[in-house]
Symmetry: C2
Subunit: 126 residues, 2 copies
DNA sequence: GCGATCGTCAACCGTTCGGTTGAATATGGG
DNA sequence: CCCATATTCAACCGAACGGTTGACGATCGC
């Protein structure tokens, strides 16, 4: 009885999970590698990944003994559509998106250990 | 130390709160009127409105003894921008948005007591 | 001023969340 | 086969959530 919108927004409400999504935007990653830049336990990250998977935001495929995590942007489209309806239908500003990602990623690497994911190219020259 | 994105997405993760936003898309409303279509107590709705206010999604202005609630779509823009970055930058489908709202509102009026808020015109034949 | 209305506050309740730890379960390599 | 690696499971914890009820402070109308 729980809508997809519920689980997607709930998943996005956590900064750790948003950071994970941003990392996966760069490339598919193994669970251990996802966990590396964070200061919490591997089990905690594993739980976050379960939540993201249940929300449909990522998928996980086990190959050998490592489980690969892959971003699934489709799940975001519904939620995005919902939100756009309230935003006066304005076009989004991609520059603002880049700044968001940078700020969020900077926040979770306070000890000078930046995750090796920068910001998506977002089309580059636009 | 809690980002605006945190509070906005957390606020959106609850179907009651999303329904309230959809209602306010139609018109400003008093707290009692907001609560009317729901089956929970007025105090519960009041709490939801506090959460929406703290997230910046609505504003409340007290005039006389009634407190008016007003949608503040600006707060959604940031979150929307963030999400769009994952959606392969595809244009959103506004028809889909209308269907979403209809479905969500229908869900919370199971006893045949539809809230008197339909769906936003979304630029159509208003 | 009195009573009804509007809305919040405070205390409480059960559930979920985000995290920990330690054990368990694959799986791959020498 | 044995051990290291990769990941999850299970139990636990404190805090936050979503809801209730009852009391309370404003404010309006008469």
């Amino acid at each position: 009885m729980e809508s997809q919108l519920d689980t997607v927004f709930a998943a996005l409400a956590d900064p750790t999970r948003r950071a994970i999504l941003a990392m996966l935007l760069e490339d598919d990653m193994a669970v251990t590698d996802v966990a590396e830049p964070f200061e919490m336990s591997l089990a905690a990250i594993s739980k976050h990944l379960v939540i993201l998977t249940r929300a449909g935001l990522i998928s996980q495929e086990k190959r050998g003994r490592v489980k690969w995590c892959k971003l699934e942007p489709d799940a975001l489209r519904d939620a995005s559509v919902w939100m756009q309806g309230f935003g006066q239908f304005e076009p989004v500003n991609l520059d603002a998106f880049e700044r968001f990602l940078e700020a969020e990623l900077a926040e979770l690497a306070p000890d000078g250990a930046p995750p090796r994911c920068s910001v998506p190219a977002s089309g580059g020259s636009d």
